[in-house]
């Protein structure tokens, strides 16, 4: 007669086998992981929906996305001193230059990208690779306000009393304030006229907030017109909020968004695989579609009709700012903004 009762030893063996088996898929399949930053909002949604599964499928790499503004990424990487908390940066021109000056990137070798030939000239350099372009202009609520024509309109009624302002913390905020300044005789490095004009209308302005708070304030009707990028407009539109984008008559601002490999990362091989996938035709095409509307960098990517910019060839028609000239001024501008705007 067989004894069917489970002995303690056989139970333990069985449980251990089960436990061991659960580890097997990891051993068999996990080729690696990669932590990449992404911008909160549209970028995060798009990368989570499209890039994450694509990288898993093609390269078997588990992508972890860390949503962070460009400034925060540079701050965290500087603080980490050679032990970066993530492997790949996504940055705008201003923070990119700060990061280059601080030596936060691995030297980038464009030849390691299979898609190199499909990229417009100048988009790949020794620091990293351009993955999209951002367009900055004016966003307004068409149910509450008529469409503003340009930057000057923001400072007169009916727009000024519904205006939401942000300072020099972000690339889009700094670029927009420079453009406002230009309308009143200022220049790339002279934002004094913007301060003078803003100060005149300050009591009327609906909100002055942190960049991260602006979409929420717009959504709640605290302000009905603001300067922002097309991605933010796309995100809010996706939430059924009444918002439209306007290219100012003096021109919209455009800049490249670039990706870089963090200095000291052990995941260099996986980082190149990730970047190659991001600029590849399939991913670029998927990212151009609504609700993401990212401007593609791959020449082969087919374009949907409602993009703000059809391809990076149009970049020259937009206003481009030289961030090497802007960056040295920003600390003083931020301080001045505090003092001029403080209640």
């Amino acid at each position: 007669m067989t004894n069917h009762a489970l002995s303690r030893r056989s139970l333990l063996a069985g449980v251990s086998a089960l436990g061991g088996a659960s580890l097997l898929p990891d051993l068999a399949f996990a080729k690696g992981t990669l932590t990449a930053t992404t911008y909160p909002g549209t970028w995060e949604d798009a990368y989570r929906a499209i890039v994450m599964p694509a990288l898993k499928k093609k390269e078997d790499i588990d992508l972890e996305l860390a949503p962070m503004f460009a400034m925060d990424q540079v701050g965290k990487a500087k603080a980490a001193r050679g032990a970066p908390p993530f492997d790949v940066f996504v940055l705008d021109p201003g923070p990119r230059i700060v990061a280059i000056e601080s030596g936060l990137f691995e030297k980038f070798d464009g030849k390691k990208l299979a898609n190199l030939a499909k990229m417009p000239a100048g988009l790949v350099d020794e620091h990293g690779v351009g993955v999209s372009a951002q367009v900055v202009g004016i966003a307004y609520n068409p149910k509450k306000l008529p469409a503003p024509k340009g930057w000057k309109d923001l400072l007169v009624d009916p727009w000024v009393s519904r205006l939401g302002l942000t300072g020099f913390q972000t690339t889009f905020g700094t670029s927009s304030l420079i453009e406002i300044s230009k309308q009143f005789g200022g220049s790339l490095t002279d934002v004094e006229p913007a301060f003078v004009e803003l100060k005149k209308v300050l009591p009327k302005v609906a909100a002055v907030g942190l960049p991260a708070a602006m979409p929420g304030l717009f959504q709640q009707g605290q302000c009905d017109v603001m300067y922002t990028n097309t991605q933010t407009v796309a995100t809010l539109k996706g939430k059924d909020i009444d918002i439209e984008f306007v290219k100012p008559e003096s021109g919209a601002i455009a800049f490249y968004t670039t990706m870089h490999i963090a200095k000291g990362t052990p995941e260099i091989t996986n980082a190149y695989k990730y970047l190659d996938l991001v600029v590849g035709k399939e991913v670029q095409e998927a990212l151009t579609k609504p609700p993401y509307n990212l401007v593609p960098v791959n020449k082969d990517a087919a374009l949907p009709p409602d993009l703000p910019m059809k391809s990076l060839d149009e970049m020259t028609k937009y206003i481009n700012h030289d961030w090497a000239k802007i960056n040295p001024q920003r600390a003083a501008w931020i301080e001045k903004f505090n003092k001029e705007m403080a209640k």
Partner: protein
């Protein structure tokens, strides 16, 4: 003499026993963690503040002199401390009566009230802050209600004002006031109140001569927590107050994470730590005095 010797031996024996079985070993892990995770970074912060440039090449006092020769920064420090004082006042005015109500409730209802008081702590401060945007916004609950009742014709500006910020901080910080207050008040001997009343004291007199002095340690502990928390509440200050109301945490953030001038950020942080700590020290001194008054 013999007695003194015996007492001495007793003390020495006590000390030995204390060192052998003492509780101080149990506190060691926390003390080490405190030294490694709080004291060391604080010293590092002090060290960083004595550099003149953001690359840490040149040591000096430039970051300090730059900060303290700018009158604007004194205004920022004063505004930050004043925000703390205002929040403490409103939490006391709203919280103290609530604690009194709690005291008189039957135990079952006390449990429910306690749950309601603790509930906001279970929510992230970010969520609570954004909820206040919905309440105070131009098209928010308060304005909708006032417009609906015909009390106002134009929406009031509540967001991005100090009034709106103090209102929301009062709710956000309320548990920090109520929990110490309730824990002290529920230990009050109810016979003392009854005795005072039986001796002819009016309800107000009982409140001000018996309950308030006896609850002072809890009240001071609550004020301390609310003050420290509201003066450093970066998220609430910037999201509800906007960036026209400038408090020290915003300056620290700008210098540290936007401009990357860490020595300047370190000086602003230390200004915040020292100014908040000095108010807290004054409050704890008051607290000790009130405890002495009770027992002495």
């Amino acid at each position: 003499m013999t007695l003194a010797l015996a007492a001495g031996r007793e003390t020495a024996g006590g000390l030995r026993r204390y060192l052998r079985f003492g509780e101080w070993q149990l506190a060691l892990p926390l003390a080490l963690a405190f030294a490694a995770l709080f004291l060391a970074p604080l010293l590092l912060l002090v060290a960083v503040s004595f550099f003149d440039d953001d690359k840490f090449q040149q040591a000096g006092f430039a970051s300090w002199t730059r900060f303290f020769t700018d009158p604007f920064n004194y205004k920022v420090i004063a505004d930050t401390l004043l925000l703390g004082v205002k929040t403490v006042c409103t939490t006391v005015v709203v919280g103290y009566p609530l604690a009194l109500v709690y005291l008189d409730l039957p135990p079952r209802l006390q449990k429910i009230l306690l749950f309601i008081i603790v509930m906001p702590l279970l929510l992230s401060v970010v969520v609570r802050t954004f909820a206040w945007i919905v309440v105070l916004g131009r098209e928010g609950l308060v304005n909708q209600l006032l417009l609906g009742l015909g009390l106002i014709s134009e929406p009031l500006r509540l967001l991005q004002t100090e009034l709106g910020l103090v209102i929301s901080l009062t709710q956000i910080e309320m548990p920090l006031m109520l929990l110490p207050l309730i824990s002290v008040m529920s230990r009050l001997d109810p016979n003392l109140r009854d005795a005072a009343a039986a001796l002819g004291a009016s309800r107000w007199r009982v409140l001000f001569t018996v309950i308030v002095p006896l609850s002072m340690p809890g009240l001071i502990a609550g004020c301390l927590l609310v003050f420290a928390s509201s003066t450093t509440a970066f998220i609430s200050q910037t999201v509800i107050g906007g960036v026209r109301l400038i408090y020290l945490p915003l300056v620290v953030w700008q210098q540290g994470l936007v401009v990357y001038h860490w020595p300047a950020a370190a000086v602003a942080s230390l200004a915040l730590v020292v100014s908040v700590l000095s108010v807290i020290a004054a409050l704890s001194w008051l607290g000790r005095r009130s405890t002495g008054y009770l027992h002495g």
